[in-house]
Amino acid sequence: MNRQITRMAVVGIVLLGALVVGTTYWQAWAASGLADRQDNSIQRVAEFSVKRGKIFAADGKTVLADNVRRKVASQKLYFRRYPQRGLAAHIVGYSTQVRSRAGLEASENDFLTGSNTNLSTVLDTALDKLRGTTIKGNDLHLTLRPGAQRIALNALGGKCGAAVAIEPRTGRLLVSVSSPTYDPNLIEGHYNLATRPKFGCSPLFNRAEAGLYIPGSAFKVVTASAALDSGKFTIDSTFNDPGFCIEYGKPVSNYADQSGPERFGHVNFLQAMEHSINAVFCEIGKALGARPILEHAKHFGFYSVPPLETPVNERAISGLYNKGKLFFPKNDFQVDPGRLAFGQERLQVTPIQMGMVAATIANGGLVMRPYVVERVVAPDGSTVVKTRPDALGRAVSANHAADVAKMMEAVVQGGTGTAAQISGIRVAGKTGTAETGVNHVNTTWFICFAPVDNPRVAVAVVLEHQHGTGGTTAAPIAKAIMEALIR
């Protein structure tokens, strides 16, 4: 019988040995695959056992995202609180249990949870794990100015729209607001309340970086840059404004956006910009062609996702859209260059892209990469990452940028944008009033920068469902933001 007993012993040991192999498979071989699975609740819980880094505004004092500690089933868990509520909700985003994450909370999660691959962070996290202490994430210090952010939000109050302010020389995002805003503290428990439409608009949607609007005359800044860079026109070029533009043999009359009479007669390029004369820009557009204008717009950042640290799906690409899809014309007959030149056609742009246009003109034609995370700071106070200003390329030559700036200054001094004047400071700007197809309901714009001689801020403001023009509705808001940032 002993031989059989030995054999059964072998069977028993093989069975138990298989368990060791199985355990090794799941804990060594398959462990990382398991950790990456979407429905892995343990990973979700473990994320809440990490003390996420705080998020600060540019003043270093205003806390945009903080933690509260709670003990759940004998585990210490950390949940997010947003003391400033809706102040920077669309940039900061949220980190919740039921709705996952949005904004910087999503895209900068690796820093905030200390799971980034930066060597010192890896070391700290490993030590925390070994000691069994709570893992602390890195803090984010943003470029957003809380005071100006608050003023922009109040100025937009009751309207649907967005405002963006950029420091032209660096690309720092100083203001980014989307109205209506929402309270990220409500996402977890009161999602319906947080997302209930206000004045007919959805609060969760980030209009500043993902909202697509017809630029209208604000696009003339791009057209003017293209015209000057093409060599076909100079700031002194003269035009005859008949009050309309012949498109495919039919006259297209000037739009309500322009100031002064319906028909200006003989004007130069500067005056055409000053009074936003569509007929002149229509002629320029036809002279340049649609594709060269769009190629030029690409240098400003059109046709690519606007760079920022927020999640890529929370930013939209500016350009021509056909049936909801971005398109670039294959030949000059697909697009009407005249209407494109004054920002109609099927152009759709984001406020941050228009802010980049204004900032680029302010910065002498050099496009700076916009950024919102100034510094990533480790729990011990040392800087993990510091963002350095980065030039994306030249959109327009320095001389021509100065010419466009001159034109834009005329807009504010005596043209369509006088509402943006600030006493003692030279302001350059451009209005935009885009017809939405519904009578007397416009999307209004104002893009600007100041001071002209030493630009410190470039602003873009857009408002939905306006009965007035960009000069009457958006320019005062842009002025308020500039004042808040300059003074």
Binding site: M1, N2, R3, Q4, I5, T6, R7, M8, A9, V11, G12, I13, L15, L16, G17, A18, L19, V20, G22, T23, T24, Y25, W26, Q27, A28, A30, A31, G33, L34, A35, R37, D39, N40, S41, I42, Q43, R44, V45, A46, F48, S49, V72, A73, S74, Q75, L77, F79, Q97, G132
Partner: protein
């Protein structure tokens, strides 16, 4: 060193490990080491000293490693159960007291000669079938999670199947010892009583939907039949029958189909019937190489809901694997292996057929039960709910395993005494 002193020394080691385990759970829970952790360890040590004393009196020549290993396994179990729910750990502690009492009682009752059990083999067989049948009775039977395994009398609920398993092994050992020569010849009529009792047991089990036990009993039966008759083709035929029967069962019982489809692809059922196994795998995977540490694993959602149902019974291994990691769970499995190796060694040393068969049955049953539940949790085989010996939460399981331990020690004591006598008797 004598056998029993060796056992005592090993128990000291186990007591230290237990104390450390409880201390680390305490630190993780309360961030302080309280005297509670030490008192639990002391209580355990005292309990096992009592078991040791019983063994010293009744079976001085028995294997000195089995009791310490059982002590270690129960300590690991109670530590983890305590970590999951201190209230349950207290109840489990009480059951271990009952288990140690049953252990001592078995040793005392059978200290002279356990082999007289052989003459009551039919009584054991029939009692086992009766016990298995109890949960199917209307008033006292209770259905939990789709299987009728529990009996409720007064305030106590227990699983009679656990004790029935040992009784059936006693029956098999007795019957096979008596009939092994004739059975080896393959005459069908000799199989009669065997198939009657075994068949009845299997029928009751299948009827009560306890697939894990069905697999376990069938495996024990084949193993003991093979050892008794030395006919490998019996085992082969048995395996073939098992596969055929499984196929039949697969088509006839929807519950079996469900189990198999969860086994093949748990993730396509991740939000329904496959939830438990996928979460359990996540728990195991989360342990990684070194584990999260006792008390540091994640077993609840951010709302405090349990992530894995039946964590302290069927899924205790996934809890342990997360907290102890690959190192700890491999060590735990190693203890099971050593326990089985000692058991098989006892079977080899035993002098008579009944003792050998009894030891093989008890040991192989122990190994197979471990394989069925841990293999199920690891997705090596379809998951069927059954307890992890000595570790899982559950009174009847603990008591039955202590009786099993007593049985092995009795056989071991006799084998060692006889070999000593024969050696001393040599001129």
């Amino acid at each position: 060193m004598s056998y029993r002193n060796r056992e005592l020394a090993n128990l000291f080691v186990v007591a230290i490990i237990t104390g450390l385990g409880f201390a680390s759970v305490y630190i993780a829970r309360q961030e302080v080491v309280s005297t509670g952790s030490l008192s639990y360890a002391l209580f355990f040590f005292a309990l096992y000293l009592a078991a040791h004393a019983a063994a010293r009196v009744t079976v001085p020549q028995a294997d000195p490693y089995l009791l310490p290993m059982a002590a270690l396994l129960t300590a690991v179990g109670v530590t983890e159960i305590y970590r999951l729910d201190p209230g349950n750990a207290f109840r489990q502690g009480l059951w271990i007291v009952v288990g140690v009492a049953a252990f001592a009682g078995t040793l005392l009752a059978l200290r002279h000669d356990y082999r007289r059990l052989e003459s009551y083999k039919y009584l054991f067989g029939l009692t086992a079938v009766g016990l298995l049948f109890l949960p199917a009775l209307p008033v006292i039977g209770e259905r939990i999670n789709g299987a009728r395994l529990w009996v409720h009398v007064g305030g106590i609920q227990f699983q009679p199947g656990e004790l029935a398993k040992i009784m059936l092994i006693v029956f098999l050992a007795g019957y096979l010892r008596e009939k092994r020569e004739v059975l080896a010849q393959g005459r069908l009529k000799d199989f009669g009583p065997l198939l009657a009792i075994w068949g009845a047991a299997m029928l009751v089990i299948v009827e009560t939907n306890d697939l894990g036990s069905a697999l376990l009993y069938y495996g024990i039966f084949l193993a003991m039949l093979y050892v008794a008759t030395a006919r490998a083709w019996y085992a082969a035929a048995g395996l073939a029958l098992f596969l055929g029967g499984s196929a039949l069962l697969y088509h006839a019982v929807p519950r079996v189909q469900e189990r198999v489809s969860i086994w093949i692809d748990p993730w396509s059922h991740a939000h329904t019937s496959g939830y438990q196994i996928t979460q359990s795998l996540y728990s195991i995977g989360n342990g990684g190489f070194a584990g999260k540490g006792l008390g540091k694993g994640v077993f609840a959602t951010t709302n405090g809901h349990d992530l894995i149902p039946q964590l302290n019974t069927d899924f205790i291994y996934s809890a342990l694997a997360q907290e102890l990691g690959l190192v700890g769970s491999a060590a735990l499995l190693l203890v099971y292996m050593l326990f089985c190796l000692r058991g098989f060694r006892i079977a080899l040393l035993a002098q008579d057929g009944f003792s050998k068969l009894l030891a093989v049955g008890l040991t192989f049953g122990f190994a197979l039960q471990t394989f069925i539940i841990v293999g199920g949790v690891l997705r090596l085989i379809p998951l069927t709910g059954i307890t992890l010996p000595f570790v899982s939460y559950g009174g009847s399981s603990v008591v039955a395993n202590f009786v099993l331990l007593a049985g092995l020690l009795l056989v071991s004591h006799r084998a060692n005494s006889v070999s000593q006598i024969s050696m001393e008797g040599r001129p």
